[in-house]
């Protein structure tokens, strides 16, 4: 399956990555090659095969409903590029 520049623009939007024209062009070409290669999987017979999401047969891993101390807000916000009081701050979100 070929990937077009238009597809790429859409996918880049989905993952919120800005790309300039040069990046768009080179990425389109590179991804085309990669996708052409991975299309080899189409020839594998997978009719009676179930998918492997986890390599180990782990199941039912929980914790009990107990609280543990939260982080100090100072630590929560120590890496914040922008903050106000104890809030993280972002450009205005328009619904």
């Amino acid at each position: 399956m070929a990937i077009s520049k238009k597809d790429l623009i859409h996918v880049a939007y989905l993952c919120r990555i800005g790309l300039d024209e040069a990046e768009l062009d080179s990425l389109t070409k590179e991804l085309e090659k990669i996708i052409e290669y991975i299309d080899q999987l189409k020839k594998v017979d997978i009719k009676n095969t179930s998918p492997t999401s986890h390599v180990l047969p782990l199941k039912n891993v929980y914790r009990e409903d107990k609280t543990i101390p939260s982080l100090d807000p100072k630590e929560v916000l120590q890496n914040a590029p922008f903050k106000k009081d104890n809030f993280f701050k972002v450009p205005k979100v328009i619904e």
């Binding site: 986890h54 409903d65 993280f88 972002v90």
Partner: protein
């Protein structure tokens, strides 16, 4: 023209666990900004989720309470989308294999009963809170990672009233299951609605509108009523309904456009590799089922059958679990169930409504209410006076007998004291006396009222009436 209204509801319920869904942060309401957060619920790099066992248990309870099929294979998926209230820019949710499927609940309307089908119940994590100020938005992640249950109905409701009743019934069940405080004001229960209209007899559904921002059941009903009218008017004018999301504006009682449906969202769901599957054994589900508490429907049946209550009284009591519990506790020391139910659904409920308090906050001890009722039963005070005494009890915290004593409110039943008052009343109201003699039976009630007034409500109205009749005739 008349249209058929089709409504489906989507409820998000915050589960009342101690700790969040995937980390040990507290879920307490009202904590300081970002004080109930940790690397996991903040989505800090390197952190990993581990499921709170109780979240799954609560989910199963709700699924069973809503008559759903609990799925044996439970997994979590990532729902990927960018939004600043979502710390990881994906939400841990359930996609193709929800926890519970295909349930129903019965709702009771004035003249009919109806079954509303539940399409699916799934677990997910809540997002943080965005606060908009001037030109920026601020983020508090205390709510991020709180356990949520999404309960989706089939489009089975045909009027805003049905939607209202569904929510009332659902809330009652959830309260009985003790899985959530269901407080819409605190956001622990949120409801979105889908509504469309179609001509009667038409098979295909009309274009649906998603309705959001309703902060009470009443608002859901009002919002839907507004939409029914708005959409009917558009259809009458031959206009097309456009698929969109609208917001209920409580202040102006209108809905307004939030956004038109853009192209379908692409959430890129896939199984969360950080969480392993959960295999629920039949025995385990059965055990939870066997330990489910009595639910409102069963309790109502029991109240009418075992206590002989009217449908109405049973309904009113059962709808409020705490009140029904209160009724049953009172009943242990006061076996006249029907009389007790009358008192609770009448006088007590009126006090709750006036004060906007629930039964617990009213602080009315069972034995104190029973004492009050018994005073009336024993003709020591009149029913009329009892209402005032109850108000006094709630305000002063004193018991009925103390109030009666302090204010000298014992009913006057001895004829000699009453006769004096009666004679005065007769003398002052000759016109009414004549009316009574002329056969106007109502006049006697007026005279009884006058005696009651003159005795500050203390006279025993039954004896007063007897004496009056004797004297006049």
């Amino acid at each position: 023209m008349d249209y058929e209204t089709i409504i489906g509801l989507e409820v998000h319920l915050q589960l009342a666990t101690e700790s969040k869904a995937f980390c040990g942060c507290s879920t307490k309401f009202g904590a300081g900004v970002n004080t109930q957060t940790c690397p996991v619920c903040l989505g800090f790099p390197g952190s990993l989720p581990v499921l709170n066992k109780k979240v799954l248990e609560f989910g199963i309870k709700v699924g069973l309470g809503l008559n759903c099929q609990i799925q044996n294979f439970v997994k979590f998926d990532r729902k990927n989308y960018f939004y600043p209230d979502l710390p990881k820019n994906y939400q841990i949710s359930q996609y193709d294999l929800p926890l519970a499927l295909d349930g129903f609940l019965n709702i009771q309307l004035k003249d009919y009963e109806k079954k509303v089908r539940i399409k699916r119940v799934h677990l997910e994590e809540d997002a943080g809170k965005l606060i908009h100020v001037e030109d920026t938005s601020l983020l508090d992640y205390n709510r991020a990672g709180m356990p949520l249950l999404e309960i989706v109905t089939e489009p089975d409701m045909n009027s805003p009233q049905e939607a209202f009743e569904y929510l009332k019934t659902l809330k009652a069940i959830l309260k009985y299951l003790e899985v959530s405080d269901c407080d819409m004001e605190k956001g622990s229960l949120r409801c979105d609605a889908n509504i469309s209209l179609r001509k009667f007899g038409v098979k295909e559904l009309g274009t649906k509108i998603e309705l959001k921002n309703m902060n009470s059941f009443r608002a859901v009903k009002q919002g839907l009523e507004y939409e029914v009218n708005r959409q009917a008017k558009l259809l009458d004018e031959g206009k097309k309904i456009v698929q969109e999301t609208r917001l209920w504006d409580e202040l102006n009682s209108v809905t307004s456009l939030m956004r038109t449906k853009e192209e379908a969202q692409d959430y890129r769901y896939f199984p969360d590799p950080d969480l392993v599957p959960f295999i629920l054994e039949e025995a385990q589900i059965k055990e939870i089922k066997n330990n489910l508490p009595e639910l409102p429907e069963g309790r109502k049946k029991r109240f009418t059958k075992d206590y002989g209550l009217s449908n109405y009284d049973a309904e009113v009591l059962v709808e409020d679990k705490a009140l029904a519990d209160y009724f049953e506790r009172c009943n242990k020391i006061y076996p006249k169930a029907k009389n007790l139910a009358n008192w609770i659904t009448g006088v007590v409920l009126a006090q709750m409504n006036n004060r906007n308090k629930n039964i617990g906050d009213l602080k009315l001890k069972e034995k104190d209410l029973v004492e009050l009722i018994s005073l009336v039963d024993e003709d020591k005070i009149s029913g009329l006076l009892a209402k005032n005494i109850l108000t006094d009890m709630l305000e002063s915290g004193k018991t009925a007998s103390i109030i009666v004593q302090e204010k000298n409110l014992l009913q006057i039943s001895d004829t000699s004291s009453l006769e004096k008052i009666i004679e005065e009343v007769i003398a002052k109201n000759q016109l009414s006396v004549k009316d009574f003699k002329d056969g106007k039976n109502n006049a006697i009630m007026f005279l009884v009222g006058q005696v009651m007034k003159a005795s500050s409500g203390k006279a025993n109205p039954k004896i007063v009436q007897e004496l009056l009749r004797k004297k006049i005739s």
